[in-house]
């Protein structure tokens, strides 16, 4: 198991180097002179020269790459132009907010997605199955930011049940956190709930057709016991494999959902950086999020290998 974990970490290193190179390359796509774009139309030539020196744009591309990696290995993701602070510091300050929101979304996804999928499979081809799969299909087709806005109109403006946005730290006021985070988490999770429900249903239908399930039933095991004890463990394996992908989508969606609900996480930070053309922040933020996802994917893979020993052997 330790060898497998170390192998996965070793595989992630070159990918992380490539990820940072791509992030560096993206910023080279800025048309014209990035310093002129950043400084705005009223900047004087002296200010432009100074900004180019600050950003290292006066050096050759190779030198820029070397400096970029040199800084990266020292944990320096650059300096935010808008906030005037190191990118890493700002990102680390905001990340607990986004991570708590993503984990809440993940919990909703797993609980609702699994339940809907299992119920649909158990009631295969009945109206409950049809209704569950229609719900799942609508979930994967609706834009999350639009769903968020509709929920604000319904639950905040008309019914007054939930706040329209903002963030309350969990350890200060857990109930306030729960109320404020429910709509953003649900609008983030809706598409993933739909996807997971569809995956769970199809896997469960496949598992329920296996010989060992028939044997369990023939031995007189009750239906709940067959589902929970015999079927669920095998349904969970493919579910664990998609957890990394689900987290990736949840973090990706946080840019827009955090903007709509005024949640001050990494997503909103990147959203504001985009509007303000804060390229170092966009670049550093992309590297940070990709690195977090790589780490999470390693955790998911190790978890998967622990659940299914065949993976370790492969």
């Amino acid at each position: 198991m330790l060898a497998y974990t170390l192998r996965r970490i070793a595989q992630a290193v070159p990918i992380l180097l490539l990820v940072s190179l791509i992030s560096f390359g993206i910023m080279q796509l800025v048309p014209g002179d990035p310093a002129a774009v950043l400084a705005g139309p009223n900047a004087t030539p002296d200010e432009l020269i100074k900004l180019r020196q600050t950003l290292g744009l006066d050096k050759s591309l190779l030198s820029q790459i070397m400096i970029f990696y040199g800084n990266l290995f020292q944990g320096d993701l650059g300096y935010s132009i808008i906030l005037g602070e190191p990118v890493l510091k700002v990102v680390l300050e905001r990340s607990p907010i986004s991570i708590s929101l993503a984990l809440y979304s993940l919990a909703l996804t797993v609980i609702l997605g699994l339940s809907i999928g299992v119920i649909a499979a158990m009631k295969h081809n009945r109206w409950i199955d049809q209704a569950a799969m229609t719900f799942a299909l609508i979930g994967v087709s609706v834009p999350n930011f639009w769903l968020g806005l509709v929920m604000i109109v319904l639950f905040s403006v008309h019914l007054g049940w939930l706040p329209t946005g903002g963030y309350v730290p969990f350890f200060e006021d857990p109930v306030g956190w729960f109320l404020a985070a429910t709509m953003p988490a649900l609008s983030l999770a809706m598409m993933q709930i739909g996807l997971l429900a569809r995956l769970t249903r199809s896997t469960m239908l496949e598992v329920l057709g296996q010989d060992y399930i028939r044997t369990a039933r023939a031995k007189g095991a009750s239906e709940p016991r067959v589902i929970i004890k015999h079927a669920m463990s095998n349904v969970l394996i493919p579910v664990v494999t998609v957890l990394g992908m689900i987290l990736s989508v949840l973090l990706s969606g946080s840019v827009i959902v955090e903007t709509i609900f005024a949640v001050p996480g990494i997503g909103a930070l990147l959203g504001n950086a985009i509007l303000g053309r804060d390229y170092p922040m966009i670049q550093g933020g992309l590297i940070f999020v990709a690195a977090v996802l790589l780490i999470l994917n390693i955790v998911v893979d190790v978890l998967y290998a622990w659940l299914d020993p065949r993976v370790r052997v492969q």
Binding site: P14, I15, L16, L18, V19, L21, I22, S23, I26, M27, Q28, L29, V30, P31, L137, I138, V140, S141, V142, P143, F145, W146, L147, L149, V150, I152, V153, V157, S202, L205, E206, S248, V249, L251, S252, G253, V255, I256, T259, I260, L270, G271, I274, L275, R277, Y279, I282, Q283, L286, V289, A290, L293, L294, N297
Partner: protein, 297 residues
Amino acid sequence: MSHLEISNNPSALTSLRRFLGGRRVRRLIRHRSFMIGLWLCLFVTAIAIFAPIISSVDPNKMAIRSRFQPPSLEFLLGTDNLGRDLFSRVAWGARLSLAIGLGVVLLNAVFGVLLGALAGYFRRLDGILMRLSDALMAFPSVLLAIGIAAAMGASAMTAVISLAVVYIPRTARILRASVLQVNELEFVNAARAAGAGDFHILRRHILPNCMAPLVVQLSFVFAYAILSEAVLSFLGLGAAPTDPSWGIMISEGRSYIREAPWMTIIPGMAIAITVLGLNLLGDGLRDVLDPRVKMEH
């Protein structure tokens, strides 16, 4: 051409005929989800094509006296904060969304197939191409598109390019897996033994047999591209602000969500209907064309 090649290896034309031919088409027609999806997609496509005819009003024509009109017989889907007719804007928005989605699909079909085929067939290229795709896929999809679009500057073309970059590695991976599978089959070995060149084998024998998963993947890429384009436009990174994009319409409606909720709800429903249609279409195609997936309908 050897005897084996003639008997076992379909030419591109024959495989296309087989691919679209009789049994599969009949199964698709009987597939309820596919047919509902097809009708929804045809409906949206018809609106996009006939937008200039069915919407008599210019989508950008402002009428300050008719601001914030709710849906009525006079204004079928209401008007926005500048008095622009929402029916007209939604119809023209369908054009833009479908055009961007189609652009992304075409780029995926070309570059996804090229990279997937090269990685799957030429093992020496596999390592580097797949590590590059791993790196691109390590970014959360929409976030990468946002990063590229933010750097390149907002435009519909930027949206197409940034979304294509996001989805091409995924398409390439699926095609690579199919190429690896087909490459092991006997008729490919027979063609190789008969002296056929690598590119001939790829073009004539392998790629025609990888069409099914590719078509299924492209239908889902279309759906995701439309959803992601709306996100980019909502953030001001997609179409130009004056263009009647569904994402821009939702973004504009956000400020007036209390007084004029239809400004937000209607373009969102247009996105949902289009994506729902494409998802249903993709589900049907997957059930019928991809033999690895069990038929459940």
